[in-house]
Amino acid sequence: MLEAVLIVAFGGALLTYLVGRWSAKGRDYFALALWVVILGMTSYLHPGKPRVSTFYPGFLGNDLQLRVTSLSWLFAIIVASISVLVIIYSFRYIKGHEKSNLYYLLLLLVNGGMLGVTLSGDFLSFYVFWEIASWSTFLLISFNQGRALAAGLRYVVMSVIGSGAMLFGMLSLYSSFGTLDLADLSEHLAGAGGEYVLFIFLLFLVSFGIKNAIIPFHTWLPPAHSEAPAPFSAVLSGVLIKMGTYGMLLIFYLVAGAKIFLGLGTGIWSFHSILSGLAAVTIVLPSFVAILQNDAKRMLAWSTVGQAGYIVLGISFGTRLAVAGGIFHFLNHALFKSLLFMSIGAVERKTSTRDLNDLGGLVKRTPVLFIATLVGVAGLIGVPLTNGFFSKWMIYKTLILDGNPLLAFAALIGTWGTILYSYKLIHNVFFGQLPEKYRKVTRSSFSTYAPMVILAVAIIFFGIFPGFVLGEVSHVTTTLGFPPLDVELWGLSSDTGMVNTLNLLAAFVIVAAVVWFVFKSGAESPKVAQDDSYTAGAPVPEGKFTYTADFYGPLERVISPYLKDRIDIFYGGLIDFTEFLSDTVRRMYTGYVGTYVAYILALLAVVLLVQLGWSPW
C-alpha cells in the first residue's frame, strides 16, 4: 500500500505528461483524478501504529524503506489535500500556456516528491525524494523565464548548499553507525556524545532551515515565491517549505528524541533556546519587512517567512503545548497561505498586475474572491473563530507560562506587523476607488474560486472546531514523547488552561444578531455610489480619488532604515568576494609558458630552501 501511493504519484506524473500531448482537457482531469485517488489512499494509510515496508532491499547494505507514522501521515495528508486543490486551481490558470504539459509534470513530481519525503523510512530514500522535489521546484520557480530565472537560480544555489549539508550529515551518520534507517538511528543516537549530536543537528538544521527559510537562510524565498506561477506559489508556501518543518520534527524529536534535543546545553545557551531566538527574529523582522512591500506576492512571501517563524518557534521551544501549537500552525498556515496566493493569482490574472499601488475597488467586481481573501487574512492574523487564532494562542500561552516573556513579545508583536500588512493587502486590492481600467473585470471561473471557497470554509471550520485537528496533533505529539493533550471538540480543556471556542462563537452569534436587529430597526439607508455622498464636503476628483500608494508612509519612514536585509547584502558581498578571488586565481593562468616555468622554479626554490633547513620566521 505504501509503495502503491508513490507508484501512483510518480507513474501518474509521467502518464499525465503523455495524456497532455493528446488532450489538454483530458490531462487536467486525469491529474485531478490521480491526486484524488492518492488523497484517498493516503487517508487510508492512517496509522494505528507505525507501519514499515521495504521497497528496495540491500542498497549499500541498507534496506530502502517506507514508513508511515502519525507525524508523517499528518504531513502527507496535507500535501495530498493542498495538491488536489492546487490542481483544480491550475485548470484555468495554466490553460493555453505553451508549456502547460511540462508544468503539470513538474507540479506532480514536486507533490510526489514531498509525499515521498514524508513517507520515507530511512535517510537515503528521504534524500532521493527530497532532491526530486527540490529540482522540480527549481524548474517551476523559473517557469515564467525572465526575472523568474534569477529567482530560481537563487533558490537552487541555497538548495544545493542545504542538500550538501544533509548529505554530509547522512554520510557521517552512516560511517558512525552503519545504518540510515530512522528507527535504528534513533537507538544509536541515544548513546552518542553531545558534541556529535550537536554536529549532526547543525548540519541538518542548515538543510531544513534553508527549506523552512529561517533567518539567516531566508534570502531565496521572497523572490522565489513572488516569481513562481501562482498555483505553485501556493504549493511552495503551503506545503513545500514545511518539508523543512517536517525534517526538523523528524531529526529533533523522532530520531534524536525530545530529551536529547532539549538537553543540549544549558539555560539560554542551549541549542533549542538559540533556535527559539532565531525563530523569534524570523517572526518579527519579516513581518515588518512585509509592511514595506508593494508587490502583493512578495508581501505574502515575506509573510510566509514570518509565519514559518511561529512554527519553528513552537517546535524549538519544546514544551508540549508549543510543539502541538507549532504543528497545528503548520497546518493552518498551509490552508490560509495557499488561499491567499490563489486569490492574488486570480487578481493578477484578471488585472495583469499585482502592484498594490495600482489596484483597488475590486470588492465591487469580485465579491466571492473578496470574502475568501478576507477569511484567509483573518486566519493569517488569527482573528478569533478562525484557525490561526487557536494555534497562536497555544504558542503564546506556553511562552508566557513557561517563562519566556521576551519570546512571547516577539510572537505577539509579529502579529501586529501581520495586521498592518494584511490590511494593506486587502485595502489596496479590494477597497477604495475602482480604477476605470478595471470596471470590466469579470468574476473568476468556477475552477478558480472553488478551491478558495473550500479553503475558506476549512479555515472557519477548524477555527470553530479546533478539536478535529488537535486530536490528530495530539497523536503526533504523543509519538514524539509528550503526554497527550486534553482535546475537546471546542478546544482544550482545563488542565492546560481552558480556551473554548463555543463560548466565543455563541457570544458572537447572539451579540451580532442583536446588534444587527437594532441596526436594521434604525432609519432606512439608501445605497449610493462612491461619488454620491458626503466626501467631507469636497467634490470628487475624476479618476484618482483614492489612497493606496505609500499606505503606511509615515511608519515606513520610521522603520525602513532598520529593515535592510543585511543578510542578503552579506550574501551579495560573499558572491562578490568569491568572484574577486576566482578572478585573482584566473589571473595566475596567463597562458604564457614562461610564467608557468617561473612558478615552478619559484616553488622549487622554496622547497629547496626549506629542505636546507632555512627558517625565515
Partner: protein, 313 residues
Amino acid sequence: MVAMKVAGLVFSPIIAVLTGLLLTGASRKMVARVEWRYGPPLLQPFIDMVKLFFQRAPSHGEVFDYGLVISLSGSIVLLLFLPIGHLCPLGGGGGLLVIIYLMLIPPLGIATSGGEGANPYISIGVSRKLMLGLGYEVTLILVLLSVMSEYNTISILKVVQAQSESGWSLFSWPLVIPGIAYLLIMPAILGVKPFDVASAPQEISSGSHAEYGGKYLAFVTVGGGLSEFIGVALFVNLFLGGPSLPGAFTLPAGALGVFLGVILFLVKVAFVFSLNVMVSALFPRLRVEGAVKYLWGWPALIGLIGTIVVWAL
C-alpha cells in the same frame, strides 16, 4: 452563580455602553471648562444617539453595513470577557490572550466597513489608526506580559482576584513599572489628543468616520465610547484591583457587594479617564511619525525594563 452569569451577560454591555457615552459627554464638558467655555450638556451624546438613529443616511453596500455590525459586536463580546466589578460572564475562557485578540475586531471591522466607503479620508484614517496601534501595542504587550508573568496566569480574573488579596498592582513592586508604562500610552490607546491622528477632525474629516451619517454615526460613536471604556477598564482591572478597595477594607458579600463593586469599578474608570482628558486638553496633536517615535521611546523602554525585572525576579 448562574444568576451572576446571566446578570453579567445582560448588564455588562449595558453598563459599558452607558458609561462609554457618559464619559464622552463628561470629557467634552471637562475640556470646555479647561478652555473656559460652558460646554454642551452632559447627556448630549445620548440625545445625539437617539436623533441620529432615526436619521436617513447613505450606505455604500453590504460590506459597509456588516463591517460596522461586526465592529460593534466585537466590542460587546470583548466586554463579556472583561470583568466589570464582579460581573464577568465569560472571564474563564482564554483570559488576557483572548482579550488582546478581541481588541482587534472593532478597529478591523471599522476598517473593513470604511473600505467599501472608498473615501481616501477613511483610508488615511485607518492607516493612521493601524500605525498608531502598532506604536502603542509594543508597550501594551510588554505590560500585559509582565502582569501575566508576575501572577503566572493568563486569566484576567485571577489577576483581579490576586490583587484583592495582595494589594493593587500599581502600588506593588515590580508591577509599578509596567503600570507607569501603561499610563504613558493610555492616551494613545484611547485615541485622544495628542494621539488623535486617526480621527483628526480638522485634518482628515474624522478619518474612518468620514462617510458615516445617521445610524451609522450613532453606531460608530457607541463603538468609540466602548473602546475608550475598554482601554481604561483594562487598566483598572490589571493595576487598580478591579472592584477591590485599597488596603484592609473589604466589600460586603452578596448582591449589595456586587452592586458596590461595580460602582467602585466605574468610579475608578471615571477617575483614570479624566486624567486622560486632562492630558488631551493640554496637548496639541502629534504627527504620526512623532506619535510612533514617542510610543517606541520611553514607554516601550519602561515596559521592557518592567518585563525584564519581572522575569528576573
